[in-house]
């Protein structure tokens, strides 16, 4: 098999299968969660749960307060850097935008590639930092399961292979690009059945949390 054939297979059946698996898994998980429902609150409400829920979806992007930020500084800083890097790489690299465009038929302007490249490095380095903390920090080591490391690895690989292929390192580009897509496929397949699902479910979780608190008049 040549690099071109491999790439072609990954761009074709490979990624399509992974996408099918991914979307099926995500829809499955979301339905599982949402269909369990929440019992109607019979107490005399102090505020609108849905408004507060929506609010919390937004407000939880920031730490609760300065002291919370201070207490979890490395986690928050590394977490932000990683997520921002990941966001930029996924959504603001022109080749990726074209991918979304081919599916959703809407496009948006991308960032210059050296900028994206920079964010890739930011994401990679912060991920290494997060991994280091996971193994070295007593609390995080205690909490971590195999799934945490697996999720880390399948998220790290696309970033790394993307970086390597952009810089034409290690392998010929078509091989590396193929491997990049393969690593994304792996991520997509594993995604719905690990904590990676938080990218979707956190909106539900925040909504519920905000709604439960908001009905009691607690603003977040």
């Amino acid at each position: 098999m040549s690099g071109a054939e491999f790439l072609l297979w990954m761009r074709g059946p490979g990624i399509s299968f992974a996408a099918l698996f991914f979307i099926a898994g995500v829809v499955l998980r979301l339905i599982e969660i949402l269909m369990l429902g929440r019992t109607k609150n019979l107490a005399e409400l102090r505020g609108s749960g849905s408004t507060a829920g929506m609010r919390t979806i937004a407000t939880r992007f920031l730490p609760a307060d300065a002291n919370t930020f201070r207490r979890s500084l490395p986690t928050i800083v590394l977490g932000y850097l990683f997520h921002i890097g990941l966001f930029v790489v996924i959504f603001l690299l022109t080749p990726h935008i074209k991918l979304f465009q081919s599916v959703f038929h809407i496009g948006w302007p991308g960032l210059p590639t050296p900028v994206v490249d920079f964010f890739t490095v930011v994401a990679l380095v912060s991920m290494l930092g997060l991994l280091w903390r996971r193994v070295s920090n007593r609390l995080l080591r205690f909490l971590s399961t195999g799934e945490d490391y697996l999720s880390w690895a399948v998220t790290f690989m696309p970033l790394l292979t993307g970086y390597l292929s952009y810089h034409h390192l290690l392998l010929p580009y078509s091989w590396m690009l193929g491997i990049h897509i393969l690593s994304v496929a792996l991520l997509l397949v594993i995604f719905p059945f690990t904590k990676l699902m938080h990218s979707f479910t956190l909106f539900i979780a925040r909504y519920y949390n905000g709604a439960i608190a908001g009905e009691k008049g607690v603003q977040q």
């Binding site: 019979l42 207490r71 979890s72 007593r138 205690f142 909490l143 945490d148 479910t201 979780a205 009691k216």
Partner: protein, 429 residues
């Protein structure tokens, strides 16, 4: 008499799984931020106190029975069922070291309401016989004697007599059609009789008709602390029946955190229908009276004071501003703690921890958090609005050889109350 069993516990745990629980478990990324928000972790540094970790058995049940992948794992034999030993092993983290304070739920970046889940997890723990003895005792007394502390009507009546002798005012019992029906916590009857006198005087000045039901004067609800909704519903039901019998407009819960949550927020859901009356915390009522000009005070406290937010009242109850409004009425030196309001730190004794002897040691360890807060603030008086917080604060302060008196907010207000002489009474001193 039936026996608790694992089967019963697991069955009840199964009943507890809903959309929020599923969304929360699905979203956890093991970031550890909830631990940093939990005083049992911050004061011990032991990772087993990480809030989300306290839910591990429940998470396993959810994964096993409510997710596609989990069912496959179960089928492959990779997801063993919950065992009684496991639940027993989890007792200390689910009960002794969680006050249901809800701070973790505020900081979780993915928005997990961990407290909501621990409350539910306790349902399974209790039904499987894994609740701590102290809480079982309190709950049993609450159901059988009407008070977790064994307070009987006679005790309350004795207090009412003292109020009468001391103030000349009657504590009205069983008055139909009163605007307010006051319920009390056993703690106030046993340890803080000042409260009853304070509200008697305040309501008298405000010209409000109020009453206490001889059938249901106990506000606290051990059912929600131990995690048995059936019992919690029975306890709530007593108050509901009394309030509806006396046809009161509003039931006022006392200076107690969980009693407010139990009646105000869980109550209607426990009995399965909305109440025909309103439920208000005493601070909400006092703040309303203040706004209407019916609560008049004179004089100001000059001491540097601060307010300890009872978790169930503020963070889990939504009563944030009233205590501040009221304190500013009588103090010109009120300062906030560094983490206050909905981000306050728990006293360390809520959620049934105080009734659980097994938690005595860790409860006082957890107090170190509050100690640090108080020390950095250098206050002369600490005000709070929960008898349980108050007792923990007093004990912690004593234990740590600090010298900060703790006062209930209603008492403090009553001390500044402007009292108008009524016709049948002489001038007040």
């Amino acid at each position: 008499m039936t026996q608790p069993s694992l089967e019963k516990g697991v069955n009840i745990l199964r009943e507890q799984i809903d959309g929020p629980v599923a969304a929360f478990f699905s979203s956890c990324v093991h970031c550890g931020m909830c631990a940093e928000a939990c005083l049992f972790y911050t004061e011990t540094g032991d990772p087993k106190y990480t809030p989300i970790h306290k839910l591990e058995p429940m998470r396993r049940l959810w994964e096993r029975e409510f997710t596609f992948a989990g069912r496959i794992k179960k089928w492959l034999g990779l997801a063993p069922p919950i065992s009684d030993e496991e639940l027993e092993q989890w007792q200390p983290v689910v009960y002794d070291s969680c006050t249901l304070c809800g701070r973790c739920s505020m900081v979780c970046p993915v928005g997990n309401d961990i407290t909501y889940m621990i409350r539910r997890m306790r349902e399974g723990m209790a039904a499987s016989g894994n609740a701590p003895q102290g809480l079982i005792g309190a709950t049993t007394r609450a159901v059988k004697l009407g008070s977790p502390m064994g307070v009987k009507l006679a005790t309350l009546e004795a207090q009412a007599r003292h109020v009468k002798i001391s103030t000349g005012l009657d504590v009205p019992f069983d008055e139909e059609g009163a605007e307010y029906m006051v319920v009390l916590s056993s703690m106030e009857v046993v340890n803080y009789p000042e409260y009853l006198e304070a509200i008697t005087r305040i309501f008298h000045e405000a010209g409000k008709r109020w009453t206490i039901s001889t059938e249901a004067f106990e506000a606290t609800n051990s059912g929600i602390q131990i995690g048995v909704s059936d019992i919690a519903a029975e306890l709530v039901g007593r108050i509901v029946a009394a309030a509806e019998k006396l046809q009161v407009k509003t039931v006022i819960t006392p200076e107690c955190g969980h009693a407010y949550t139990a009646l105000r927020w869980e109550g209607p859901n426990l009995i399965g229908r909305p109440f025909l009356f309103k439920v208000r915390h005493i601070l909400e009522v006092l703040d309303d009276l203040r706004e209407q000009g019916l609560l008049q005070t004179s004089g100001m406290e000059n001491d540097r004071i601060t307010f300890h937010d009872p978790c169930q009242l503020v963070r889990r109850g939504g009563v944030v501003d009233p205590p501040r409004n009221l304190l500013n009425m009588v103090s010109n030196n009120f300062v906030e703690m560094e983490d206050h309001g909905t981000m306050n730190w728990c006293c360390g004794a809520g959620g049934g921890v105080s009734a659980n002897e097994a938690a005595d040691e860790i409860r006082l360890k957890a107090f170190k958090r509050k100690k640090a807060q108080l020390e950095s603030l250098e206050v002369e008086t600490l005000v709070t609005a929960c008898a349980n917080c108050r007792i923990q604060l007093e004990e912690g302060i004593e234990e740590n050889e600090m010298e900060i008196p703790v006062v209930g907010i209603t008492e403090m207000l009553a001390a500044h109350l402007v009292e108008h002489p009524s016709s049948d009474e002489g001038e007040q001193p």
